[in-house]
Symmetry: D3
Subunit: 330 residues, 6 copies
C-alpha cells in the first residue's frame, strides 16, 4: 500500500487511519466476523468525515480507495466486503440520484452507522425471531459454540419455554464445553455428547440449530467441521435443521463463482507430537469447516427475517446489491 501513499501525499490523512484499521484487521488485532465488518465500515465513516475531496467524483474516488484498502486486508473474510458493499451500494445510488458532495458525506455516515447499529443488534434480533419457532418442550441439538444459535435457544428459554439441549463436544477444540457452560449458567437442561453420538440421539431431537461462518449464494452454509454430517443425519431422520446467521455472513463472492476456502488447521490440535513421531507417515488432516448443502437446511434465521436457503440470493441482492456487477464498487 506504500506506493499509493507516496502518490497521494500528505493531504490524505484519512488514508493513514484507514490503513491503520486495515493493519489491525490483517494482524487479527480485530477479529470476529461482526467486529471486522463494523471496524471496516468505521473506515468509510472516517473517510467521509476527513476526505478533502472538492466534488462528488473526487469523493467517490476517495471512498473507493478506502474500500479497496479495507477489503484487501483480509480477502477471505466474508463479512468485510459485505460491510463495505452495504455502504457503497447506497452511496453510489444517492450519487446516481443526483446527491451533492455534502449529501454524499452525510449519506455515507448515516448508512455506515445504520450498518454498525444493525450489526450490534443482529444477534439479539436473531434470538427474538428464532425463538418464535421454538416450542415449549423442544429438544434442540447444537454444534460448536455459536452466539446466534445460542441467542435463539436462550431467548426461548427466557420466554419460559422448557428446552432440552444436546451439545456436541466439537472436536478437536471442544468448543462444546463453552456451550455447555453457557447453557448451564442459564439453567437450561443440557446434555453433552461426543460428536459421533449425534445420530444415536437424533430420533429424539425436534430441531437442530447451528451458526454459520458463511452462507453461499445458493444457500449452502459453511460452518464448523461436522455441521454437514449432523445435517445429513437430521435430513434422514426428518428433523428440522435451522441455521442462525447474521446477513453480513452471506457471501456475495460465491455468486461470482468464487468458492469459500476451507482452512486446514494444525495437526497438533488433533494428536500430540508424540503420536506423530511414533507413527511416521500418517497424515493428520484437520479441516476447520465443512459445507452443508441447501437441500439439508430448512430455514436460515437472520436478523432481517427467516428465509429458506434457496432465497439466500435475495439477501445478497436486496441488501448488498446484485450479482457480478459488484466489481465497480471498489
Amino acid at each position: 500500500m506504500g506506493a499509493v501513499f507516496q502518490f497521494w501525499g500528505e493531504k490524505l490523512s484519512f488514508l493513514r487511519k484507514v490503513e491503520k484499521i486495515a493493519e489491525d484487521i490483517k494482524t487479527m488485532r480485530v477479529r470476529g466476523a461482526a467486529r471486522i465488518a463494523r471496524t471496516a465500515v468505521e473506515g468509510l465513516i472516517i473517510t467521509a468525515e476527513e476526505s478533502e475531496a472538492k466534488n462528488e467524483e473526487e469523493y467517490l474516488k476517495d471512498l473507493k480507495i478506502s474500500s479497496k484498502i479495507l477489503v484487501s486486508a483480509r480477502p477471505t473474510a466474508v463479512s468485510l466486503p459485505n460491510g463495505i458493499r452495504y455502504v457503497m451500494k447506497r452511496v453510489l445510488k444517492a450519487y446516481r440520484d443526483g446527491a451533492k458532495l455534502e449529501e454524499l458525506r452525510e449519506e455515507t455516515i448515516r448508512v455506515g452507522r445504520e450498518f454498525i447499529q444493525n450489526s450490534f443488534k443482529a444477534i439479539e434480533k436473531i434470538g427474538e425471531i428464532g425463538a418464535r419457532r421454538i416450542r415449549d418442550g423442544d429438544v434442540i441439538l447444537t454444534h460448536c459454540n455459536s452466539s446466534a444459535a445460542l441467542s435463539v435457544i436462550i431467548t426461548a428459554h427466557r420466554q419460559g419455554k422448557k428446552i432440552t439441549v444436546y451439545a456436541t463436544e466439537t472436536r478437536p477444540r471442544f468448543q462444546g464445553h463453552i456451550t455447555v457452560e453457557r447453557l448451564v449458567r442459564e439453567g437450561i437442561d443440557v446434555r453433552l455428547i461426543v460428536d459421533s453420538a449425534v445420530n444415536y440421539y437424533m430420533d429424539g431431537v425436534d430441531k437442530v440449530i447451528v451458526g454459520a461462518d458463511a452462507v453461499a449464494s445458493n444457500g449452502a452454509v459453511v460452518n464448523k467441521i461436522g455441521t454437514s454430517l449432523i445435517a445429513a443425519s437430521a435430513y434422514l431422520s426428518g428433523v428440522n435443521f435451522f441455521v442462525a446467521a447474521e446477513t453480513y455472513k452471506f457471501s456475495p463472492e460465491t455468486t461470482a463463482g468464487r468458492l469459500i476456502e476451507i482452512e486446514q488447521r494444525d495437526p497438533t490440535e488433533v494428536v500430540d507430537r508424540e503420536f506423530l513421531k511414533k507413527n511416521k507417515g500418517v497424515k493428520v488432516l484437520n479441516p476447520a469447516f465443512d459445507v452443508t448443502p441447501p437441500q439439508h437446511i430448512d430455514l436460515i434465521i437472520t436478523e432481517r427475517g427467516i428465509i429458506p436457503p434457496q432465497a439466500a440470493i435475495i439477501i445478497l441482492t436486496e441488501v448488498f446489491g446484485w450479482f457480478v456487477e459488484e466489481e465497480d464498487m471498489y
Copy 2:
C-alpha cells in the same frame, strides 16, 4: 448354581469345569466375542467327554444343563448363544436322525471343534473374501478398530493393491489411534481425522468398511458409536458401505423380538471430573454403540461369503437354526 451341584452330587465333575468356564466369562477373564464363543463351546466338548450319562436322553440333559450355565454367564453377549446353538442344533438333529450315545458324543466333539476352527480362521477368511472387492487405488474410510475390517484392508494391501485409508480418531477412547498404528506398520497410506470430518472427506472415498459388534436378524448392524452417522453420510454421497462381521456376531435373539441393548459408559471417558464439578447439572451421555439400519448397508462380508443385509436371516436360519424354535435348545 450351587443348588444344582448339591442336587447332582459328586458324579457330575464336568459341571465343575463348565461352571469354572462360565465364571471366567462372567468376570471377563475371558473377553472378546470370538474368545467367549470358543471358550463356551469348549465347555460343551468337556461335557461330551466327561458326562457319565447312560443313554441318549441323559446325555442331552447334561448338554442342556451345560448350555444353560454357559449362556447365562453373559446374557448380552451375542456370540455366546451362537456358539452353543451351533453345536446343539447339529447334535439334536443327529439325535432325531437316530444317532446313539457314543455317536452323539463324537458329533458334539466334532462339531464343537469345527466351530472353534472356523472361528480361528474367520478373520483371515473375511480378509480374503473382502479383499476381492477392493480395487487398486481405492480410498477406504474406517471407524474404530475392527480386526475384521482391517483384515480386508491389509489383505488387499498385501495383494499389491494401492490403498489409501481415512481412519477416524473414534471418540471418546481414540481407538482410531490403534488403527493408525496398525496400518502405518503395514506401510499403508493412512490419514487420521476427527470423527466429525467424515462428511467433509466422503466425496473422495470409494468404500467405507467397518466391523460389527452384532448383526440383527433384519440386517441392522450394532457397532461403535458413530457408525450409523458415517453410514448416513455414505448413503447420501452414494458411497458403498461394507460391514465385516464373523457369523457368530449375528444375533438370533432379534428374530424373537429382543432388542440388543446399548450400553451407556462412564462420563469420565468424555470429560474429566473437573468439568462435571464445574458444570453442575450437565448430563454427559456416552453410549458405546449405535445401530445402522440395513437400508444404509450395501454388503456384509462374513467368513462364509458376502450377503446383502436383508439376507442376515439366512445366516441365522442356515447356521444357527430357525426363528423362535430355539427355546428348546437349552
Copy 3:
C-alpha cells in the same frame, strides 16, 4: 379501542366506520380470506376519504390507527394484514417520494381499489394461468373444496381439454361432496374416493392440485387436514403437486418467525356424542389444517404468475414489502 376514541374525540368520524368494519370481521359477519382483505382495505379507503388531517404526517397517523384497528380484528387471518400492507407500503413510498396530502389521499384510494379489483379477479386469473399447465387427457386429484384449484380444473375443461378428476371426500366435513357437485354440474368426469384411497390411485394421477389457507415465507403451504399426506404420496410416486393460491394468502408473519397456528375443531365433527359417552377417556383430535413442506410442492399458481415454493418470499418482498421492517407500517 374505547380509549383511543375518547382521546381523538368527535372529529374522527371515520374511526367509527373503521371500528364497525373491524367488528364485522371479528364477529365473522365478514368471512373468507378474500372478503376479509377487501373489507379491511375498504376501511383504509374510508379513512382516506374522511380523515380531517391537516398535513401529511397527521394523515399517515390516521391511516396507521385505522390499520392497527383493522389488523387486530382477527390477528390470525393471513389475508387481512396483507391487504393493509399492500396499501400502506405504496402510500408510505409515495410519502417518502415527496407526495403531498391530497396526492396521498388519492394514492390510498387508487391503490386500495387496485387491491380490491385484483382480489376479485384473482381466482379467474389463477384459473387462466393454471389451465395452461393442464394437458388434454390429464387425470387430476384434488382435496377438499378450493375455489382456486377448481378454477384451474374448470378453466382447462372449458378450453376443451378432457379432464378426469379424483375428489377426496375430505373427512370430517365431507367438503369433497361439494367439489363433486360442482364438477358434475360442469360435465367433468369425477370419481369420489375416501381420503385414505389416495395412494391407491396415485400411480394413475398426472397432477395433484389443491388450494391453500396460507403460504409461509419458505413456501410451506397450510391447507385442509390431509393435504400434506397427499403431498407425501405424490412425492413418492413422482406426481406433480400444484398449489393454487391468491397472493394475499402468503403470510408475511412467517418471515418474522411467527408460526401459523393450526386450529383444533370440535370432536363432534368426527364422532357423535354417543361414542364419546361410551368410550370414556378417548381423545378425539380434530386439527383443521396441516402443513405441506416446500420440498413436496412443485409449483404455486398465483394470480401474478407461477412460482416454485422457494420463491414465496419474492411475493412477500415484491408485493407486500421486505422482511421484518413491516413493524412500522401500522
Copy 4:
C-alpha cells in the same frame, strides 16, 4: 364336483364331509383367514381318518382330491392354500422318505393338528414377540382393526409399558371405532383421528403397527385401504413401520407371478343413494385394500419370529415349500 362323486361312488364317504366343508367356506359360513385355514386342514385330517385307500399311492390320490376341492372353495383366500400346503408338503416328504400307509395317515393327522394348534396360538405369540420391540413411553399409530397389531399393543401395555395410541377412524366403515373401544377397555391412552390427519401427527409417533390381509413373496403387504398412505408418511418422517401377520397370510401364489386382487366394494359404504341420484355420472370408487411396498416396511412380526420384508420368501420357502413346484401338491 358332482362328476367326481359319481366316479368314485359310495365308498368315498370322506369326500362328502370335505365337500361340506368346502361349501361352508364358499358360502362364507366359515369366515376369517385363520378359521378358513383351520377348517380346510380339518378336511385333510378327516380324509386321513376315513380314506379307504389300500396303499400309499391311493392314499395320496385321496388327499390330493380333498386338497383340490378345498382350495377351489375360495380361490382368492391366501390362508387356505397355505394350510393345505403346510400339511401336504410334509406328508409328501414323508412319502418320499419311505413312510408306509399308516405312517402317512398318522403324519397327516399330526401335522394337521400342529397347524391348527399354531394357528390358535399365532396371535398370542405375535403379541409376545412384537411387544419386545415396544418401549415404555412409545406412541403407536394403528389403522383399521387388526387382532395381530392389537395383540402387540395390548401385550406391551399389560407388561406395564406406558403406551399412547393414535387410532385412525378408517373410512368408509369406521373399524377404528372398534379399535378405540378395545383399547379403552384395556385402559390404554387412545386418540381417535380422521384418516387424513395421519401426517399431521406422524412426527410425534414412534412406531406404526398394522395388520395384513396378505403378504406377497417380495414382502409387499396387502392391507386395509389407507395402509400404504400411512407407510409413505412414516417413511418420509423416519418412523418405524411394523406389520403384524400370521405366517398363513403369506401368499405363495405371488412367487408364481399371480397378483393379489383388490376387491372393489359397494359405493354406498362411502355415500348414500341420495348423493348418487343427485350427482349423476359421479363414480364412487371403494377399493377395500391397497399394497404397501417392502421399501416402506421395516419389520414383519410373525408367530415364528421377526423378519425384514425382503425375507418373506424365506417363510414361503421354509414353511410352505419352494417356489413354483407347488403345482403337484394338489
Copy 5:
C-alpha cells in the same frame, strides 16, 4: 402483417426494416438463441432511430408495434421476447419517470446496445465465472455440444487446471463428436462414450456441466434429449450437476403458466428409410429436448452470476420484469 402496413402507410419506413428482420428470423436465415435476440433488439434500435413519432405516446406505440412484429416471428424462441422485454422494460420505466421523446429514443438505443454487448460477452463471462468452480484434477461429464458449457471447461483448462472430460456421443445427431474435436484441439483429455454409458462412469465424475435451450421460471432446464437422464444419474450418485446458461435463455412465459413445447424431429435421424419400410407399424419417436427438474440441478451459471435453480425467477424479475404484468410491454 400486411394489413398493418396498409393502415400505417408510407411514413412508417422503419416498419419495412423491422418486418424484414422478422422475416429473416421466421425463415431461419437468422438462427441461434443469441443471434435471434440480438437481431430483434436491432429492430428496436432501428425503430428508435427512424420512428417519426411526434410525442412520447406515439413513440411508444411505434416501439410496441415493432415489438409485436418481432416477437411473433418465432413465438417459441425463448431469447427473442427476452431481448425485447429487456429494452421495453427500461424504456417504459424511463417514460413513467418522466423522460421526454428524445430521451426515450436515446434510452432505447443505449439499452439496446447494452443488451447486444452483454450477449456477445455472455459466453466468455460464463466461462470465467464457471471456471472458478472447477478444481485442478476435476473429471467433468458433458452432453451434446454447448458453447456455454465448453466455455467453462476450456477456461478452466487454460487457467492451467488439469481437466478430464467425458463427452457423450449424443444420439441421434452425434453432436458429441463436435465436442470431442473442440476439446482435442484444446489439448484436453477427453473420452467419448455412448449416451447410455453415463451411469457406468458417473461414480468417477466430479461434475456434470451442460448447456440449456431454455430455463423455466421454476428453475427447470430444457436441454438436448438425454440431459434429464444424466441429471437423474448424477443426483443418485451425489455428483454436482451444473447448467451453463445465458440469462436470455430464461423463459418468462413459464411464469405465466405456458409450457415450453418439445419439438419432435424426423424419424430418419434415428433410423434409415429401409428400416421403416421393413418394420411397418413401428413408431420412431425423436424428441429434441427433455426437461430436467430443479431438484436435480445444483447451480446455474449465468453471465450475471451463479444461482440455485429455484432463484431462476429472480433473473426473470430483476432482468426482464415481474410475472404476468408483461402483457402490456408489446
Copy 6:
C-alpha cells in the same frame, strides 16, 4: 490338460470327450449362457456313462476331474459353474446319504437331464410367470434384446392383453432394432427411441422389463450398458423395474467376493477409424455392461418363481449350494 491324460492313460476315454466339449466352449463354437451350461452338463452325463471307476470314491474323482476341465474352459461364464454345481451338489448329497456306485451314476444322469430340461423350458416358463404381472393396457419399456424379457411381453400379448412397448435402439450395436423386428412381427405396438430419450418417456411407462447377463448374490444385475441408467430413471419416477433372468444366470462367485468383470469392447463399434485418426488422443470407452444395484430393482422373474433382488442369495443357496463351501465340488 495334456499331462493329466498321460497320467490317466488309455482307459479314460470319457476325458477325451469332455476335453473336446471344453475346447468347443473355449473357442466359442458353443456360445450363449444357456447352451454353454447345457453342453457342460452333457460332459458330466458322459462321464457318468463312461467312467470305468470301480467304487464310489473313484467315480467322484472322475466327476471332479471333468468338472474342473469344464469350468476352466471359460472361467468368466456365469452359467457354466452353475450347471456343474447343480449336478455335483445333488450327486455329492446322494453319496453322503449312502448311495452306491450305480445309484450315483444314475443320479448324475437323472439330475443332469433335469438341468438340461429345465434350461430348455426356462425362457418359456419365465414368459408364463412374468406375463401374470402384466396388465391389459400396460406400457412397457425394454432395453437391448433379451429373450427372457421378450418372452414375458409376447406371452402377455398372446394372452390378449394390449401392450405398448418402448424399445431403446441400444447403442452402440443397435440390438433394439432386432427387438423392434421381433415385436412388429408379433403385431405388438412398438415405439423405437434413442437410448437417451428414456427419461422423457418414463412418466408414461408402467413397467420396465430387461434381461440379465448375470445376477450377483446381493441381487445386483449385470446387463447391457445403459440398464443401470434406465433403472435410475425408473426409480426416480416410481416406475416398476423388472428383470427376467434364468436361475443359471445367478453368480455364486459373487458370494465369495469375486466381482463380475465388465468387458471393454472395441472403439470402432462406437466411431469409425476416420474419427479416431482425426481426433488423436481421444479415448473411446465402450463397456459392454453395467451393474444395476438391487435398490433399483423391484422383482426378478426366474423360471422358478418371482423373487425380490435381495433374495437372490436364496436361489444360490437352494439351487446351487451354500456360500463359499463350493470349493470342494470340483
